[in-house]
Symmetry: C2
């Protein structure tokens, strides 16, 4: 990030017509946006949420509350014509509200999806292998998914997005997200494994056992994050990592939504620690383990709404907050400009 | 609130294409909005932040970090022409970002303000009396300010606001807000008295002593909230109470911003407990005592950004969240409509 722009932003914040610090976290966010965009008065254009969709061989172990047929059905829902505009899913409704554009990309659905003009196919393979018993992906498949994510981010930026929200859909994907997080943070599984879409106690216990078994099986090491993603990850996780790396390389702000996104960010930090400067945590989601991810990333979330949906919904809610943080820094007058007496 | 609309909204939430409860607090907010607007698919039009401005005789006791001249200077700042549009204060920048309209009303500035086409004068008197030594207002003055607030809310609603943000500016006004809160909640002063715009330890101790003395002087009782406002309150506090009462009577949602607003809401709840159904807490602000107000009101805040500015800034940030909550309830498709398989 641009340290000089950040310093100038800090100096400007101290002169704006408010008590210093009175805008709390918004002030910190505005300074970080100044660093990302290389100016003390950042003016982000639009926002885009890019939903990468993939399936998971590990659903054969019974780790999810929903059947895998939900994945293609939800893709159709993302793209459906509705009286309100395209898309009948939560992310569509929220993105319309805040003016963010939604991209939907099939990076690994375990079905042949019907063609749709708004569906971007970057399919690497039909779902991952069952990580309980074998590596989920080859290293080459991981790299293909990363490159696909980078291309998606590049397209969104070309179309006007300065705030990027990597997002995901994939029945069963909190299982690889927990496994990747446990390996990268070298922490115990129970504190990093939650109920996903809402599994019961028996399924949660089975999910934890599956993740433990996968970690015992796989030989990936935290110093090789691509190896970890191949061993334990998912195609949408690798795809989101690609979005993050490209977004940071293009000096755009990346809004980090939930737990699955967090696993991609941890892999990204292990690859390129400077990525952290470009990440902005949206909310702390309800999934166990998200707080541990954010603590490791050193990011403070903006809200806690107990979201546990995915789709980038939390990230979309963070868009007006980041836009507001930038607007306050950019548009407020200084004490001198406004001729307001400062404190004694 | 409309219980039937709320029940229909709950039933609809359970059928939308997401795990039940996965949108967390947004789901609760959407059901409450259904109750306010009397429909299971609420579609709020615009939002308005109405900044009531007043001065306080108690500043003679040295309770604020800023001189009282800041009040009229900030009014000018709210109204100033800038390259970005009207207003160079934080609330202007944030309101532009989320598309909320800003109203500025002089209900009690201790100065004669220059005419401005966008300044609404509803002045009751030039500042309050010094509540350390005598009642801040007469009961008649309180009622005049309440009626002025009601008229402001009515105008904002006529102009398209379905989400109302009562807001305030007034150097020294966390002192009456703490005094009113302590009397209405019958709680000790220290836990309800914070640093306002950022006073030092010595000033904080003086501020607490002034509030203690005012409480010891005044004979108002919690069962007579208008008497409490006359004894210990402020004109902008009474004005915001009027906005809240009118907003609720007109079945609009009222976004509750910070600590000074909270003191008005406590008075409103004491007058008319049904007001609570129309109140939506924005963030938990940094001012000590705000959490106690929200707990008494039974409201869960949407975020915690450590804001301590006032001006309705936190309330403005809540606008996209409430609009998103309503949009998800209104625009998402059901499992049946989308032909998505529900959980087993």
């Amino acid at each position: 990030a641009d340290e000089q722009a950040m310093q100038r932003a800090r100096e400007r914040q101290a002169q704006l017509t408010k008590p210093t610090g009175a805008l709390g976290l918004l002030e910190d966010l505005s300074v970080r946006l100044a660093g990302v965009f290389g100016t003390p008065t950042p003016a982000p254009r639009g926002a885009a949420v890019i939903v990468a969709v993939g399936d998971h061989g590990v659903v054969a172990e019974g780790v999810s509350a929903y059947p895998p047929e939900v994945t293609p059905a939800m893709v159709a829902n993302f793209l459906a014509d509705t009286p309100f505009g395209p898309g009948g899913a939560a992310v569509n409704a929220l993105a319309r509200t805040v003016g963010a554009r939604v991209y939907v990309a099939d990076v690994g659905v375990n079905a042949t999806l019907p063609d749709h003009p708004a569906l971007i196919s970057v399919k690497v393979r039909r779902g991952t292998r069952n990580l309980r018993h074998e590596p989920a992906l080859t290293r080459d498949e991981v790299i293909q998914a990363i490159l696909a994510g980078a291309a998606l981010a590049a397209e969104a930026i070309r179309n006007g997005a300065d705030l990027l929200i990597p997002a995901e859909l994939g029945i069963g994907n909190t299982t690889p997200a927990s496994a990747v997080t446990a390996r990268l943070l070298q922490r115990e599984v129970p504190g990093l494994t939650g109920r996903g879409t809402g599994v019961d106690d028996a399924t949660l216990a089975r999910k934890q056992a599956v993740i433990e078994a996968a970690l015992a099986r796989g030989g990936s090491v935290p110093t090789d994050p691509l190896g970890v993603l191949a061993d334990l990850g998912g195609l949408e996780i690798a795809c989101m990592l690609g979005m993050m790396l490209k977004g940071a390389a293009e000096r755009r702000a990346i809004i980090l939504d939930g737990f699955v996104e967090g696993s991609a960010a941890l892999a990204g930090m292990a690859l390129a620690p400077a990525l952290r400067d470009y990440l902005f945590a949206a909310g702390e989601c309800a999934e166990v383990g998200h707080a541990a991810q954010l603590a490791h990333l050193g990011l403070r979330p903006m809200f806690r709404l107990d979201l546990r949906l995915g789709e980038g919904t939390g990230g979309v809610l963070a868009v007006p907050m980041l836009m507001s943080a930038a607007a306050a820094l950019r548009e407020m007058r200084t004490f001198a400009e406004a001729q307001v007496p400062d404190r004694a």
